[in-house]
């Protein structure tokens, strides 16, 4: 009985934790940046892979779909508050992929964005 109960607890703890892992494994730029505030989550998180793939919620997403998501996000969440877009790029990916994404987001009406970074080890 105890075994079964603990197995169930562990199952639910594991599955709830995995549900939070929305972010893809990306080699982010190593920069100090500023600490991400827990109370101010980005409305949209877009990852850029080294080969130019865009990921939203860990799924490869076409630029046209990202544009559509940004437009609908701005229409609903953006009223009276800043629509925060967090871009998590691979640090070695060419700038053209970032430019394509930002051009599309600008056309959708996005004016501000943040780039995700990892603070260098040792704080340097």
């Amino acid at each position: 009985m105890i075994d079964v109960v603990f197995q169930l607890i562990i199952f639910f703890m594991l599955t709830s934790h995995l549900g939070d892992l929305r972010r893809t494994e990306i080699d982010l730029p190593r920069e100090e940046g500023t600490e991400q505030r827990e109370d101010r989550q980005a409305a949209m998180v877009i990852d850029i892979g080294f080969n130019g793939d865009y990921y939203v919620e860990s799924r490869v997403t076409a630029l046209s779909e990202i544009h559509r998501l940004a437009v609908s996000g701005l229409a609903t969440e953006g009223r009276g508050q800043v629509f925060d877009v967090l871009i998590r790029p691979d640090r070695n990916a060419p700038a053209v992929y970032l430019d394509r994404l930002l051009t599309s987001l600008t056309e959708a009406g996005v004016t501000r964005w943040k780039m995700g970074t990892y603070a260098p080890v040792g704080g340097g």
Partner: protein
């Protein structure tokens, strides 16, 4: 006599604890913590506005400093007007000498690594440029 008997009985009752299940549970908890503990570095971010190539910092009459990020055979260069910085320190020295009011606009050549753009954004932030924007190049 009676007290000793009761103590013995209680002791034997405790001894009947199911140890096999207990070990199972302990191992499962161990596995759970091994699986869920993460050694990932905490993420941080750099903020910037975004503007079209035609301009966009309309509130200011001053022209922002434009930092061009260029990939070269030796690595990366940051071009600010006629000045060229080949490292973070050189870029810091150039930006430190320029007026902050107009802000800084960063743009990059198609093949420049995004990591170098992040460096330019970081240095501009560290040097106290409040208005920071990124200018994506049109295709």
């Amino acid at each position: 006599m009676m007290g000793a008997k009761r103590r013995r009985r209680r002791g034997s009752h405790l001894g009947a604890l199911p140890l096999t299940s207990m070990i199972d549970v302990v191992f499962l908890l161990l596995v759970y913590f091994l699986v869920t503990s993460s050694f990932k570095e905490p993420e941080r971010d750099l903020s910037s506005s975004v503007q079209g190539e035609g301009g966009g910092v309309s509130a200011s009459e001053l022209q922002p400093q434009i930092v061009d990020v260029v990939r070269t055979a030796d690595g990366v260069e940051y071009r600010i007007g006629s000045r060229v910085a080949r490292s973070r320190e050189e870029l810091r020295a150039v930006l430190a000498a320029l007026p902050r009011d107009a802000g800084v606009a960063i743009r990059a050549r198609r093949d420049a690594p995004i990591g170098a753009i992040a460096t330019a954004m970081q240095v501009a932030q560290d040097e106290g440029y409040v208005k920071r924007s990124y200018v994506p190049r049109d295709e």
